[in-house]
Subunit: 141 residues, 4 copies
């Protein structure tokens, strides 16, 4: 069972661009945006009053990215402070879909759609823990 | 004017997975595949008898990724030797679309579709140099 | 002219360990500590009421690491919150030496000694701007 | 028991600089040299007819960097092909010291001295497997 959601709320997380993030074109290297949106997802999990270790140990749950569709709109530069806005597009039993958009001063930098699957220690899809599902819905839908 | 192509030939490039590429799950970190496919694109440019610096200086051309759609199929591990197979999906005047699939021992690891735009020093779309267009077609279509 | 300093004060900066920072051993990959201490240096510059862009544009000053001596004491893990403590060992006209120690819950993770040189656009050593020299001394000595 | 060695032979490994390796200064980002010298060490292990997985599984041996002293001499740039030359400075029972120098067209880019410790699954120092010790000596001393 899955629901399509009209998401209103976003989980917002700020990231400053350091030298490590840039490349010889003077802008953020394209792969590094995947790091930024993963940091935002980790923080979102933390905002649900849990963390990756607890989910791993106590719930045999870990999350892997299955699909990631990226649209690079504008460049970001050294020392820019970026805002990653994460919203819930769809929440199913063993997976969810996030929209993660990165902004700099109201300008859209990157649009990402990310399909995440919950797996167990045998790398099989497994149910997202109920408490987490509830928390995610409270946080970003 | 653009052509849709039935691509038969691929440009193949091998990459060994080092510690830097892995994460605490023991597999290649998802953002690092974007590095791998960029390396393959740079090598493809080199296989066209040119390089990024020449294209930059002599042709005022540089290539940026506009869209990147990733489907993560299987995990790759430390010391795996991966094969990036790049083929041409579409070639237009100022852009092209590549399929970049990563394999490990015949197993598909990642499917990527990458839309690349040619821009000039003012960050405006610009014509792909003719010689390069021809070379790319010879190489991967 | 240079002064050896008995440094008492440190500039402290916190960093959370994300997946991107770890490797297949389950710990922070050794190169990534260099990213952490650079972030701390950038934040230290910001704490001096300036930033890299201003120093670049208005003062023709940029900072490069000349020497970096690293002693890896303990491992750090996913979701650890690390504290980078930066202190001034020596401040000269065109260079300075920092001690940058990383801690996790009072445990020393890494000891770094970093020699930094101020250079101009021609990559020649150049005087550290006076205002910044003063600010650095106020902040971390 | 340890021997100081007059090393004559080096293990040489080539690396091309890609966008991922550079930063907004247009040069290789300083942390990435640590990746390059680790790749060279992994290849050196492979040149000893073994690999990290075998050493891990069959010998309960893994190698960690304890000390790394870096002297940054010159910058490297996009598409430079660098040569990492690794030589043995000292070989002891549970550790060894390497000199790893990176060159570009005969120009020295980086000098690194790296102290490596062999540890077991309990993270305790352990004897370097005899066969490997012999191979390392044959290869780079």
């Amino acid at each position: 069972m899955s629901n399509n959601l009209n998401t209103n709320r976003t989980f917002n997380f700020s990231i400053k661009v350091y030298y490590e993030d840039t490349d010889a074109e003077g802008v953020v290297y394209y792969a590094n945006y995947l790091k930024f949106i993963e940091r935002a997802r980790t923080e979102m999990i933390n905002a649900c009053d849990t963390n990756l270790k607890i989910l791993h140990k106590d719930y045999d749950s870990r999350f892997i990215v299955k699909i990631c569709n990226l649209d690079f709109i504008k460049s970001a530069h050294l020392e820019d402070v970026l805002e990653v806005k994460t919203s819930l597009k769809k929440l199913s039993n063993a997976s969810f879909v996030l929209n993660q958009n990165i902004f700099h001063d109201e300008h859209l930098i990157l649009k990402a759609e990310v399909v995440i699957i919950c797996i167990n220690r045998d790398h099989k899809p497994s149910k997202i823990p109920d408490f987490l599902k509830k928390k995610i819905q409270q946080l970003i839908s």
